[in-house]
Symmetry: C2
DNA sequence: CGTTATTAATAACAAGTGTTATTTTAACAT
DNA sequence: ATGTTAAAATAACACTTGTTATTAATAACG
């Protein structure tokens, strides 16, 4: 079964990924991808059923890159694991603005797992262990930290903010330690209340 | 100068605004706006030079609505002024998701005033007064609070988060009081250092 | 009541984009 | 070398959207 085989799915993906990285998903279209590969639009439809399928593959590729950011910042040991997750998210937003917008600033869809990911549960466990929090407390603590991290990252990706990693690190520590203090306060209050209840 | 005058600029603006509120700027186009008014696209080009001009007017209208949110939440007195600003931002994100995305989740452009708005300066002044902060400290404090508020609002607008106002209020207080504690700590450290320097 | 100015409707053009039909090209088997 | 066949180029179609040309309608004025 002889043929003439040249333009691979991978090559298309790579060309489209460069486009999306630099100019965003809004600029991805068949003719532009083809132009960057110096070919016609036909090969695209040989490797993908339609543009939607290509775009889905691009999202996957973007997510893989994000995962590598997290893995690297955790492995590097520059920060403790919980903080490293946040720093990686912010670093990704800063270095890959378009991909960040694609992955984290789109409307949530039904595909997005509402289920609790292992990564999420690992972070919750980490907070419980490090700060002596209950499961509910850890979840709220994490929500508060994560919305904060997301705020920094989102404003960075849209160019409202330009942070170096030193300031980002400081902001995360401020928030984290501030919350530890708050949650400590709450524990004290609960204890006081219990004591009172006991003495009555 | 006789004529026949019926479809006003205002009517077009109103129809387009309903569209943008419900379905976002991406869905605003001449034919759809016309369809909603039960007329052709011609009148649009009588009142506006082009669609870009219409869209700019829509952004202005959206901003006016946002300003009314802030004004109302400050005037209501339900929260102290600094907190009210944040609560209004979050409420706007929750009740007008598309408008929020339009105003606050787009890439920053050159039009966006890099200059320090009076509103911003008023909030800084408020923080200085209430918490005894220096100008620099207040600016950083505000940056930390505002990125947090933005994170909550942005995740709400994209449906990753669904908060009632009670939880939003609690989250803001947690962050605010946590930061007050942190900035208090820093002041102590500085004082300790000064004392040491003095004794040498 | 007819003229005229102005608005709106209709139709059309242009550009962009997804997609498919048709033709051409080139690698491999024979 | 040549025929077969997959892949690629070219061309075309469909649809969307911004915009403009042309035509029809209508209100104001004499």
């Amino acid at each position: 079964m002889p043929a003439k085989k040249q333009i691979t799915r991978q090559a298309i993906l790579d060309a489209a990924f460069e486009l999306i990285r630099k100019n965003g998903m809004g600029t991805v279209n068949a003719r532009e991808v083809a132009r960057r590969m110096g070919c016609s639009t036909q090969p695209i439809y040989l490797s993908f059923a339609n543009m939607e399928e290509l775009k889905a593959a691009l999202v996957q590729k973007a997510d893989a890159l994000y995962q590598s950011y997290v893995a690297q910042d955790i492995a590097s040991g520059a920060y403790p694991p919980y903080k490293a997750s946040g720093m990686a998210y912010i670093r990704f937003a800063k270095e890959e603005k378009e991909l960040f917008k694609l992955l984290f600033m789109r409307d949530r869809t039904q595909e997005d797992p509402p289920t609790e990911s292992p990564e999420y549960l690992a972070l919750i466990a980490l907070l419980r262990k490090n700060n002596g929090l209950s499961d509910d407390e850890a979840r709220l603590f994490h929500l508060e930290m994560w919305t904060y991290v997301h705020g920094i990252a989102a404003m960075t990706a849209t160019d409202y903010l330009e942070l170096d990693s030193t300031l980002a690190s400081r902001m995360l520590t401020d928030a984290y330690e501030g919350l530890r203090y708050r949650y400590g306060q709450q524990k004290e209050q609960e204890n006081r209340k219990e004591k009172q209840d006991g003495s009555n």
